[in-house]
Subunit: 404 residues, 2 copies
C-alpha cells in the first residue's frame, strides 16, 4: 500500500495518532440529531454515514447500512466485505476521492452497539491469566486445569448484558460467602477483564464442524471487550457449572468493529505451545495480531500487554465452539479471555494485579484493590503501523453504586 493511497481527504485521518486512518475504516452504528441509528465508518474524527452514502449511490450494500446494527451487512459475506472496503478506500482517498460524501463529526454523534449480539461466549486463553487466577481460586497445584493446554476453555455468557462503551455499570448485588451461610450484599470485589471480542460473520450449520482455516474466514472483525466480573460472587457460585451472575452485570465493547482486513498487516504468532494440539485445533498460519493493549483507571494507565501473549486464537476458539456440531451465527461475539502478560504491570484484571486483593495498587494517589463506585475503567488498543495506527477507539465504563 503506497503512502499516497493511505492518505485521506479527511485531514484528521492523516494524523499519525488518529485511531481511524484510511487504513482502518472500522464499522459502527451511530445516531445524530433526530435520525434513527444507522451504520457508519470511522475516518479521522468524522463518521461516514454509510446509509446516506448508499442512498446517494456512492456505495451498494443492499440497504443493510440503514439498519441499526451491522449484522445484515456482515451477513452479505466476505466478497462484499472486500469490495466495500475497497470502495470506501477509493472514496475516502486523498487522490480521486469523493469529497461530497455525507460526513458527520464523531463528537456530535451517539455511538450504539455495532451489532445485535446473537450469542456471547467468553474464553480463557491467556496462560498467564489462567494460571494466576487458578492459584487464587484453587491454589498453585490445581491452578492450570489439565485440559487447558489441549483446548480453548470457554463458557457461554449472556448476550443481553453486552453494552456499548460509555454505558454506566451498576455495581451488582449478589450472594457472597459468609461465616454462617451466604449474605446478600453489593459485590466487594468488582473487577475488569481486558479482552478482545471477535465478531462472527457467517453462519455454520448444526452438526457441522468448522476447521480453523474456515473459522479464520468466518471472523469479520474485532472489538475491545471488558467483561466486568464480581469476584466474590464468582467464588461462591462458580462450582460446578461455571460463572453465571458474576459475569452478567455487564460486558462493555468498543463501538467500532476493526476488520480483520485492517489488522492483516499485523498478523503474528501467539505464545509457544506446551504440547501438540489435536488436529482439529492446529492452525496453518499465525492467528494473532501485534496489538498493543492496556487499561487505565480514572485516567492512570495501569497495565500494558499485547494480544500476541495469547495461547489460542479466536479462529481456534471458533473451531472448538463447533466441535460438538454447535451452530454459529452472524453476530455471535467471542471474547478472547483476559489478556495478561507475565508481569504484574501486564495483567488484564485487578484480581491478578493485586494478588486477590492482598497487594493494593495506587491510582492517582488513592489505594485500590478492586473497583470503587465512581471509578472509570478504559481499555486501550491499537496496532502500530509506519506512520499510522489501527485503533479501536474508546471502551469505557463508570461504576454506579449498587441498588440495594
Amino acid at each position: 500500500m503506497s503512502a499516497t493511497i493511505a492518505r485521506s481527504w479527511v485531514a484528521s485521518a492523516n494524523d499519525p495518532d488518529s485511531d481511524f486512518p484510511l487504513q482502518n475504516l472500522p464499522y459502527g452504528v451511530f445516531s445524530v440529531g433526530g435520525h434513527a441509528p444507522r451504520c457508519g465508518a470511522a475516518i479521522g474524527d468524522m463518521i461516514l454515514d454509510l446509509a446516506a452514502a448508499e442512498a446517494a449511490g456512492a456505495i451498494e450494500a443492499q440497504g443493510t447500512f440503514a439498519r441499526p446494527f451491522m449484522n445484515d451487512f456482515i451477513a452479505l459475506g466476505r466478497d462484499t466485505w472486500a469490495s466495500t472496503r475497497a470502495r470506501l478506500t477509493e472514496l475516502l482517498a486523498e487522490d480521486g476521492g469523493n469529497r461530497d460524501l455525507p460526513l458527520v463529526p464523531m463528537a456530535d454523534a451517539t455511538l450504539h452497539l455495532p451489532i445485535r449480539v446473537t450469542e456471547f461466549t467468553d474464553f480463557y486463553a491467556s496462560k498467564n491469566h489462567a494460571f494466576n487466577v487458578g492459584v487464587l481460586f484453587r491454589g498453585p497445584e490445581n491452578a492450570l486445569p489439565p485440559q487447558w493446554t489441549h483446548m480453548p476453555i470457554g463458557y457461554n455468557g449472556r448476550a443481553s448484558s453486552v453494552v456499548v462503551s460509555g454505558t454506566d455499570i451498576i455495581r451488582p448485588m449478589g450472594q457472597l460467602k459468609g461465616e454462617d451461610g451466604p449474605i446478600w450484599s453489593p459485590t466487594r470485589r468488582l473487577d475488569l477483564e481486558l479482552e478482545l471480542g471477535a465478531i462472527v460473520g457467517a453462519d455454520s450449520a448444526m452438526g457441522t464442524r468448522v476447521s480453523v482455516e474456515e473459522a479464520e474466514e468466518m471472523i469479520f472483525g474485532y472489538v475491545l471487550l471488558n467483561d466486568w466480573s464480581a469476584r466474590d460472587v464468582q467464588a461462591w457460585e462458580y462450582q460446578p457449572l461455571g460463572p453465571f451472575q458474576s459475569k452478567a452485570l455487564g460486558t462493555t465493547i468498543s463501538p467500532w468493529i476493526v476488520t480483520v482486513a485492517a489488522l492483516e498487516p499485523f498478523r503474528r504468532e501467539g505464545a509457544p505451545r506446551d504440547n501438540p494440539l489435536l488436529p482439529y485445533l492446529q492452525e496453518q498460519r499465525p492467528g494473532f495480531f501485534d496489538l498493543q493493549l492496556g487499561w487505565s483507571m480514572n485516567g492512570q494507565m495501569m497495565a500494558r500487554t499485547n494480544y500476541n501473549v495469547m495461547y489460542y486464537s479466536s479462529a481456534q476458539q471458533l473451531a472448538h465452539h463447533t466441535e460438538s456440531g454447535c451452530p454459529m451465527r452472524v453476530g455471535d461475539l467471542l471474547g478472547t479471555g483476559t489478556i495478561s502478560g507475565p508481569s504484574r504491570d501486564q495483567t488484564g484484571a485487578l484480581l491478578e494485579m493485586t494478588m486477590g486483593g492482598k497487594e493494593p495498587v495506587t491510582v492517582n494517589g488513592e489505594t485500590r484493590t478492586f473497583i470503587q463506585d465512581g471509578d472509570t475503567i478504559a481499555l486501550h488498543g491499537h496496532a502500530q503501523g509506519a506512520g499510522y495506527r489501527i485503533g479501536f477507539g474508546p471502551c469505557t465504563g463508570t461504576i454506579l453504586p449498587a441498588r440495594e
Copy 2:
C-alpha cells in the same frame, strides 16, 4: 370451570387421553402444504390456524400470529395472554363455539420451534440429580456444592442448538480424556436430561432485579426439554468454567407451549427446604406443578417422576438470573435442570440410572449404559385433571452416527 365449558366441538379434544383438551390450548408454530410457518393452537388432534383465524376476524392479536414464532404474540403481554385464552375457549367450546374456524389436522402439519430462542439458560434444581451426579463426578464428600441449597445454580447454554421435537441429533465428536492426553472420538457416553423449559414472556431492564412474584408473572408457559449431554466430553472440559461443548450438540424441546394459565389448577409445593433462603429467593406461593413426567427409550418407559420433586421453581430461577441486574428478554428459555426423583426408576438421565455406566439397564431385551446410534428418546409429560389431561405432546429425538 363447568364440565359444559370444558367440552369442545372438536370431538377429539374430549377424549380423556388427549393431550390437548379445551382446558389446555397450547401454542405452537406449524406449516402445512405450501404455507409459510405461522402460529397455531392445539385442540384435540387438530391445529387451529391462528393467523387465518385472525385474518377472518375471529380473534385479534395485532398480526403477530402470522409470524413464524410466538415471540411477538408473547410480547403483547399478560392481558393479551388472558383475553386471547378466554376468546379461544369461547370459540372452541361445544356450546356457542364458532364451527367455521380454520382447523388443520395435526397429522398433516410440520411442527416448528414455537419460539425464536433468544437465550438459553439451564439450571440444576433437582437435589436428587445434583447429588447423584455430584457423587459420580466428584465423590460423595463433595457431591452437593455448598451453595446448592442457597441458590439455583445455572449456566448459560447455547440457544442456536435448541431444536424442535423430531429433529435427529448427530452423535458429537469431542475431546475425551485418554491415558496419555486427550483423544478425538465420538462421545461414548451420550445421555439425555429430562427437563421442563420455562418460556420468558416479558423483558426486564438492565440493572433491575426481578422479584419471585414478578418472575411468576413473566413466565408465559412451559415445554418439555431434553438437554442431550456428552458425559465424557463434559468430564474432561467442565472445570473450572462449566459445561460447554458437552451440552451444545442439541437441546430438544416439545413443539407446544403449555401456558401457565392451563397449569394453574395443578400448582403445588416442591421439595422441602434444608435451610431458609435469602429474601430475594423466597416465594409467596407454591411455584411448582403436579406434572407427571417420564422418558422412554425405543418405546420402553424407563423412568417416571414429577416436577414437584424440584427444589427451585422457574420463578426462583428467573429471579436469581436477574440478581446481578442481568436483563431478561421475551423468548429466553430457562431449563429447570434434570428432574429426578430419589429412586433409580425416577431418574431423568442415564448417568444416574446406570451409576455412571456401571449398572447397565435392559431396553427391549438389549443392554444399555448410554445412548446408542439409532436409539430414540422420548420425553412424556402431563397434568392429570378430572376426566382430562393437560399434555405437552411429543418431545423426541433419534441419534444418528457421528460424522468423524
